[in-house]
């Protein structure tokens, strides 16, 4: 699973979660509670407990890749 991880996928996942979290409440208020409550609450939990850490970790990895990539290309000193 981790081999298939990429920053782009992490951002897409976070975006979907945040959209469901942001709009789900309005949808629930409009149509009633039962059908949408479980996926909405799951998105709400992910948005608050997982997505912030995931995005920070993703940012760290993107920065690390940029640094190590630059070193490999010789544009950044290894010292």
């Amino acid at each position: 699973m981790m081999k298939r991880w990429s920053p782009r996928r992490a951002i897409v996942f976070a975006s979907i979660v945040l959209v469901v979290d942001g709009l789900g409440g309005y949808a629930l208020d409009a149509v009633g509670v039962v059908p949408l409550a479980v996926p909405f609450l799951l998105a709400r939990l992910l948005a608050r407990f997982v997505v912030p850490g995931m995005m920070i970790a993703t940012l760290v990895i993107v920065v690390v890749r940029a640094i190590t990539g630059a070193r490999a290309n010789g544009s950044v000193s290894s010292r």
Partner: protein, 382 residues
């Protein structure tokens, strides 16, 4: 060393560490937004909640709005929705008198609905007589305490309203039944008595005195002694969930949901008893995880699952007990507990702003009415 993050396991470890660190403070900050304003009682925080509840009442809440699978419970929830809405709206109108004219019609609708025979048909089914038509009966009909609370809320704001005479008669009937009970236990249904419902009866009498200028102080003082002796567990300080009216002995374990409901209702009549029950909830039942608060349903040494009274029980924490404890926390000055439970209510209730209203999207009409009443419960009596 940086290249290690290109490999899966170090990357997974980084994700795990950063996620745990962020989860320890981001959700509590995110879900705690706005708690200062609602705790202070700011109009900007209370008004949208009140408008959401008033809107739901105007839109119509009836037995068909609920699907518990039991006609009795659907009826109870209909009655409780209107009663909680009336009390919550009353509290907001008292805190912000400029909103009184806007909120009063919804409270009047609540009073009208609790007197509708359909709203108390579940009680008539159980007793074989309509409680509101049998005020001279010796049968308990303690569920009428909920109806009387809604009438009391209207009476506090409009002493000469069109239901005042019915309010007088219902209060006197409930007071007479309470006085006649040797153990201070009024039955809700035949051979079924619940301290939370008895607290509704007692609280409604206290609220009547404030709204209509009655004086039941002697009765309320007399009631407190048997209530403490019979209905409260000495070990935990919690109220037993159900009682045997004839023997005065508990018929169910001490539980937080009934206790937390009783705290709120008793606050209209007996603040000392309400404070003592709240102290038991605070000291023995409080649960907290990452800044999210809740209240354990069962007292230490007792185990059980969720039911219609407690709502869902997750890791021992009950939805009803947690929500109702908000009122005690605000009334008796436990700001930390109020904030911790508010975060939980915000997380799972999911408030949204829609055209000047702020309904909790997941709470439904009864949840919104309860949360309004609990979040705006006042340290001072109305």
């Amino acid at each position: 060393m940086l290249r290690a993050l290109e490999r899966p396991w170090p990357r997974l470890a980084l994700f795990a560490i950063v996620t745990v660190v962020c989860a320890s403070f981001v959700p509590r900050v995110w879900c705690g937004r706005g708690v200062d304003a609602i705790h202070r009682g700011d109009r900007s925080a209370q008004e949208p909640l009140a408008r959401a509840v008033a809107h739901a009442i105007r839109s119509g809440v009836g037995v068909s709005s609920f699907h518990t699978g039991s006609a009795r419970f659907d009826g109870e929830w209909t009655l409780a929705t209107h009663q909680m809405a009336a009390l919550g709206l009353m509290q907001v109108a008292l805190a912000h008198p400029e909103l009184r004219a806007e909120l009063l019609p919804a409270i009047e609708t609540c009073a009208e609905r609790v007197l509708d025979p359909a709203s108390t048909a579940f009680g008539a089914e159980a007793w074989g007589e309509r409680g509101l038509d049998a005020l001279g009966s010796t049968n308990g009909h303690a569920y009428l305490g909920y109806a009387n609370l809604a009438l009391g809320a209207l009476r506090v704001l409009a002493p000469n309203n069109r239901f005042a005479a019915q309010h007088d008669r219902l209060t006197e009937a409930l007071a007479r039944r309470l006085d006649a009970s040797p153990h201070g236990i009024v039955e809700t249904y035949p051979r079924e008595a619940y301290p939370a419902d008895i607290a509704a009866v007692v609280g409604s009498i206290g609220l009547y005195d404030r709204g209509a200028g009655g004086d039941h102080r002697a009765l309320l003082a007399k009631y407190a002694t048997p209530m403490r002796a019979c209905c409260i567990d000495g070990a935990s300080g919690l109220a037993f969930q159900s009682m045997n009216a004839a023997s005065g002995r508990p018929a169910g374990p001490p539980r937080a949901s009934g206790t937390a409901i009783a705290v709120y209702f008793l606050s209209f009549a007996d603040r000392v008893l309400a404070r003592d029950l709240f102290a038991a909830l605070r000291t023995s039942q409080r649960a907290e995880f990452l800044g999210f608060g809740g209240v354990r349903e069962y007292a230490r040494g007792h185990v059980g699952s969720g039911d219609i009274d407690s709502g869902p029980v997750l890791f021992g924490v009950g939805v009803t007990a947690s929500a109702f404890t908000l009122a005690g926390a605000r009334m008796f000055g436990d700001r930390d507990l109020y904030e911790a439970i508010y975060r939980t209510a915000n997380l799972f209730g999911a408030p949204v702003d829609v055209g000047g209203r702020r309904p909790f999207a997941v709470a439904g009409s009864i949840g919104n009415a309860i949360l309004l009443a609990m979040l705006t419960a006042t340290p001072e009596l109305p």
